[in-house]
């Protein structure tokens, strides 16, 4: 590029305060300058005169930069960041307050503070991350996710035949899958099938964990992502074809799973949803205990325990009362008002964020944001239903189900808010001359 153009673009770049908007804005001006120069040369101008005329046509660099700067500002999401931080603190407070006096259930202060700090760091760090760079490392991210799942399964603790840390890793798989799907944009049918196939190793790890809820989240979110892809003809094979392909693949996976699952585990769990009384001391125990406790709950204040439980207290009746059934605990210890309030706050937060995610202009930003927030919303809805005594598989409640879950929730929110912050920026283009532009940007920095 001619030196004159570099100097001009550096001046324009200096007026654009948001660094991430610079490279994209300057690249377009650069192409324009080169084309304009060639046009002038074709009209008979000397090279030097053509360069000067092209710059003159573009306008004063400072003014051009200021106009671009006014258009390209990050859309800060302080309100949502604050809301997430406040909610995590409120969740921690409630966990301490409602488990006080039960040493085995009460969170350990040191661990909770560490989790809060890690959660904040992850959320804020991911918020300021240029999420678009994830597209450059799709293979590495996918491989790392699979490897982490396998390592935690092999070496992590197994509680009740379940790999505990692997389950937490599986909760991140919907986002990993969103990044994976994006890799195959515009790659036709081959890309579509590779995108679908990428879900299988992740699903396999969810089955190994075993974590049916994680598998369900991955399957559901994956299907939604593929249908979103269909809406904009993501793979370049046609909208209807993509939608039919996604529905066909989902059916091909779900039908055999349902057929084999219906012989045992799945059938038992689904029947327990409707009739837990059929197995009151086995699969139905959790649902029955929750329903019995809730039947004694009042609008405000502690619930009364039914005579069938004798001298037993709530904490000894409902398993997992300080974890995945914490909303039941809120209803039974504080009253329905607080249950409804907590459920509403979570539903409104994730529902509104999903709406915003679906409205993202940047296609990668959109599927990444949906991949991050949809599982949180599904967990919340599933969690509320299970906490009302309709239990199939255990859903974690975002912010409330333990320290690691809180960190994961905050990290996912940070990633989601990052897409909203940079929603106006276009994606990084493959083949863009990054190295040369780094040089120009370095000059701008100086």
């Amino acid at each position: 590029m001619p030196e004159r153009f570099t100097v001009y673009l550096v001046e324009v770049g200096q007026a654009i305060r948001w660094r991430r908007a610079r490279s994209f804005a300057l690249r377009e001006l650069r192409t324009h300058l080169i084309e304009q120069k060639e046009c002038f040369q074709n009209e008979g101008m000397e090279e030097q005169a053509a360069e000067e005329a092209a710059i003159r046509e573009m306008g004063e660099p400072e003014m051009v930069g200021k106009e671009l700067d006014a258009v390209h500002r990050p859309r800060e999401q302080w309100l949502w960041l604050g809301a997430a931080a406040l909610l995590s603190c409120a969740a921690v407070f409630l966990r301490f307050y409602l488990t006080a006096g039960f040493a085995f259930e009460s969170p350990q202060p040191g661990k909770v503070v560490t989790a809060l700090l890690l959660g904040f760091t992850a959320m804020v760090g991911l918020y300021f991350l240029d999420y678009r760079i994830l597209t450059r490392h799709t293979g590495k991210i996918y491989a790392a996710a699979v490897l982490l799942g396998l390592l935690t399964w092999e070496f992590g603790p197994h509680v009740n035949h379940a790999a505990w840390y692997t389950r937490q890793v599986v909760l991140l798989y919907p986002v990993v899958y969103a990044i994976w799907v994006n890799k195959f944009r515009g790659k036709g049918w081959q890309g579509f099938f590779l995108a679908v196939l990428g879900g299988f190793p992740l699903a396999l790890i969810a089955c190994m964990a075993p974590y049916m809820m994680g598998l369900f989240l991955l399957f559901g979110t994956g299907l939604v992502l593929l249908l979103l892809a269909a809406r904009e003809d993501f793979f370049g094979i046609g909208r209807r074809q993509t939608a039919l392909g996604a529905a066909g693949c989902a059916l091909a996976v779900a039908a055999p799973a349902w057929y084999f699952g219906s012989n045992g585990w799945m059938l038992r769990h689904v029947s327990m949803l409707l009739h837990p009384e059929k197995d009151p001391l086995g699969y139905g125990y959790q649902a029955i205990s929750v329903r019995n406790m809730l039947s004694g709950a009042v609008w405000q204040g502690a619930a009364s325990v039914g005579p069938e439980y004798g001298e037993q207290t709530y904490e000894y009746i409902v398993p997992e009362w300080s974890g995945d059934f914490f909303l039941t605990t809120i209803a039974c210890k504080l009253g329905w008002v607080f249950f409804i309030l907590t459920a509403l706050v979570l539903l409104l937060l994730f529902g509104w964020l999903l709406r915003r995610a679906l409205g993202e202009r940047n296609p990668f930003g959109r599927i990444l944001a949906v991949g991050a927030v949809l599982p949180l919303l599904v967990e919340t809805v599933g969690g509320i239903i299970q906490n009302l005594g309709y239990f199939v598989v255990s859903f974690p409640i975002p912010f409330f189900s333990g320290n690691l879950n809180m960190i994961l929730t905050m990290a996912l929110l940070g990633l989601l808010l990052s897409t909203m912050r940079q929603g106006d920026l276009p994606e990084e283009q493959e083949g863009a001359p990054r190295r040369r532009w780094r040089m120009v940007l370095t000059l701008v920095e100086e």
Partner: protein, 111 residues
């Protein structure tokens, strides 16, 4: 020509150009100049911020052609929202221009 006459209508002109098909910035400036017999000479420094602003409002979308990676062209495409905006602005402009002409030509007066 007084540039201020053009400034309020640049968005309308850009949307109108894109109604006929996807175009990149340089192409739009040349097309505008040619079709207005050099009357509308738009500075690139004015056009690109305007294009980016229209893109943020959802009136246009952009896609990049990478056939020549050393010179990637960013094409702009008119969206359905952009078409609606164009129709609205065009009606506004025709009403305004008609009224202006009537006054300048000393035509009908409602007073």
């Amino acid at each position: 020509m007084d540039k201020t006459l053009l400034s309020g209508s640049t968005a309308l002109l850009v949307l109108k150009l894109l109604e006929e098909g996807d175009k990149y910035g340089y192409q739009m400036i040349e097309e505008l100049r040619r079709r207005s017999d050099d009357t509308f000479s738009l500075k690139a420094g004015t056009l690109y911020p305007l294009l980016h602003s229209l893109e943020q409002k959802g009136y246009i979308t952009a896609w990049e052609e990478n056939s020549d990676s050393a010179r990637p062209r960013r094409y702009y495409h008119l969206t359905d929202a952009g078409k609606a905006q164009l129709a609205e602005k065009e009606t506004e402009w025709r009403t305004y221009a008609g009224a202006m002409l009537r006054v300048l030509e000393g035509g009908a007066c409602l007073a």
